[in-house]
Amino acid sequence: MPDDLQPLQQGPLQRGPGNTIAPTGAGGAMDLAVSEAETLERPPGTGTIPGGPPGGPGAKPRSLWSDAWRELRRNPVFIASGLLIVFLVLIAIWPGLIASGDPLSCNLAKSQEGSQPGHPFGYDTQGCDVYTRTVYGARASVTVGVCATLGAALLGSLLGGLAGFFGRWGDALLSRTADIFFGIPVVLGGLVFLSVITSTTVWPVVGFIVLLGWPQISRIARGSVITAKQNDYVQAARALGASNTRLLLRHVAPNAVAPVIVVATIALGTYISLEATLSYLGVGLRPPTVSWGIDISNAAPQIRNAPHMLLWPAGALSLTVLAFIMLGDAVRDALDPKLR
């Protein structure tokens, strides 16, 4: 048993100092993923070389995934959040499915009016239909969330995985670079970086989130690869003359990817929340993009007169973030039996 625990103990300890800086920079929004990652740091080892049975390298990875899938299908939290996410993605692609109006056609005469037949959520200050804008707002949030997560996950796991696998100076360089990005609180960095950009598309925001998001994922990927590469079957494959590419792709990556998936799923929710915060501060998405953050920001000064203008987009935003975080939570529980 002590032998079994050895690599796990080494993981976090080697990286003691770096590791403790980890949940930093991320101002508010990215924090959940980071703190979840903290709890994951040790378990990923346990999750990927599932605790007890050390044998059968060929069949094991499959069974972890099929176990997890069986677990997930019986989890009501997963089903609820999964259905909600499917629905959100659908209306992000085809908002016309449930909203027939145009989010940009407004009638000032109806400014701040409450709920009416055909317009269940009422009107905002500009006289736009709040229901239509809330539905159309899903697109910006989901796009930013998905693109930023994909970018950060790909970049982070590529860099972190390579650094963890090869070690040496590349590893040291990457860890110190990641420390620098962790040193910048996210909301603060967003204000500074994005305030100089004038583009009205979603891409600067996505780029910024990827820029500050990848170090977190790379840290998880690195730790997880270091744990995976110490396994006996990797040593055996190396002894049989497998190349580094083959070792990485066939043996290490499949056994190291689970924690990255979990952290990325949770991060998706927090990125959406971050985008809304940046848009609220006036440096994220800009009109004419329809975004919940912008709508909430515009509605906030009028909260005493017309709270409905704030409550509907805020509710939609919170529900979306909640759905992704709950999904991540369920996936983590399924992939990491030790935490249960």
């Binding site: 949940p23 929340s273 809304a276 919170s318 909640l322």
Partner: protein
């Protein structure tokens, strides 16, 4: 221990340089501070050139950076574009934000640890599931939404507090803003404590303590909590960065004239000396907090020291 402290200090240096340079680069290289000084009007080229020379803006970026850092370590943060020394602005803003952050940390410690212990001891039961779900909900609702909602409910609907904070920002007026700022971190503290307690409650030393016949509260406070709070302490230290980022939002909602307010104004007006000065101090505070936590961690958990 000495070697560990030294190593940590050395590691801090490149991070400090990298982070401050990145901020410096973004503010001075991508924005144009001199153009911002003139607002909408086009600056007279000769005047602009003179200002650039006075402000060291005509040198290469790295000389500017070195000059700026040299001045900072002599205690000179420069002058904001309205003529006020940045140091004066800081002297006004920092105590307010410090108080706000302290209120937030106290709130998140008291409620977070209590909820976490309750959840951890009843792992898997209804209370635990309820607490866990609640933390997820709290994390999902962005700070600016909870801020406006609570301000509306407490300040306007029920009239329990003043909706905005007076310039002096006394402690009692900071309670609600502090709670809003603390909420998300509170949820993390709860989850961390809960995981840690649930893990340790099955440890041998807890069983021994129970077997010795110690009363339950003593087992929990003396044996269980002591060992379970180590990750929480780490989190609090690193959370300071998040709290300061969150303060930008909270201070805007409740009209608190602290660091976040000054920073936001500085960025809106493209007031580079204010922005770089405040951000540099924030980064220093943040790195020091991390260092302190790492050292504390090494004291509490000897395994870190010998790694």
């Amino acid at each position: 221990m000495g070697r560990y402290v030294l190593r940590r200090l050395l590691q801090m240096v490149p991070v400090f340089i990298g982070t401050t340079f990145l901020i410096f680069f973004m503010v001075y290289a991508l924005g144009d501070p001199v153009a911002a000084l003139f607002g909408d009007r086009a600056p007279d080229p000769a005047t602009a050139a003179r200002i650039r020379r006075e402000l060291y803006l005509d040198r290469p970026l790295w000389t500017q950076y070195l000059h700026y850092m040299g001045q900072i370590f002599q205690g000179n943060f420069g002058t904001a574009f309205n003529g006020q020394p940045v140091l004066d602005l800081m002297a006004e803003a920092w105590p307010v934000t410090l108080r706000l952050t302290l209120v937030a940390i106290v709130i998140e410690l008291i409620f977070g640890i209590t909820l976490g212990v309750i959840g951890g001891l009843r792992r898997g039961r209804a209370t635990d599931t309820g607490v866990l779900f609640l933390t997820l909900v709290v994390i999902s609702v962005p700070t600016f939404v909870t801020g406006y909602l609570l301000q509306y409910l407490f300040g306007v609907e029920w009239g329990l507090i003043r909706p905005s904070v007076s310039p002096a920002a006394p402690l009692n007026e900071l309670l609600l803003p502090g709670a809003v700022l603390a909420l998300v971190s509170l949820a993390y503290v709860t989850r961390l404590t809960r995981t840690s307690i649930a893990e340790n409650v099955r440890a041998d030393y807890v069983r021994t303590a129970v077997a010795k016949g110690l009363p339950r509260h003593r087992v929990i406070t003396r044996h269980l909590l002591r060992n379970s709070l180590i990750p929480v302490i780490t989190f609090i230290g690193t959370d300071i960065g998040a709290l300061m980022g969150g303060a930008i939002v909270t201070e805007r909602i409740f009209n608190i004239h602290g660091v976040g307010y000054q920073l936001y104004q500085g960025i809106l007006r493209n007031n580079s000396p204010t922005v770089v000065g405040f951000v540099t101090v924030l980064v220093i505070v943040f790195l020091l907090a991390n260092l302190l936590v790492d050292l504390l961690y090494a004291v509490l958990d000897p395994r870190i020291r010998y790694a």
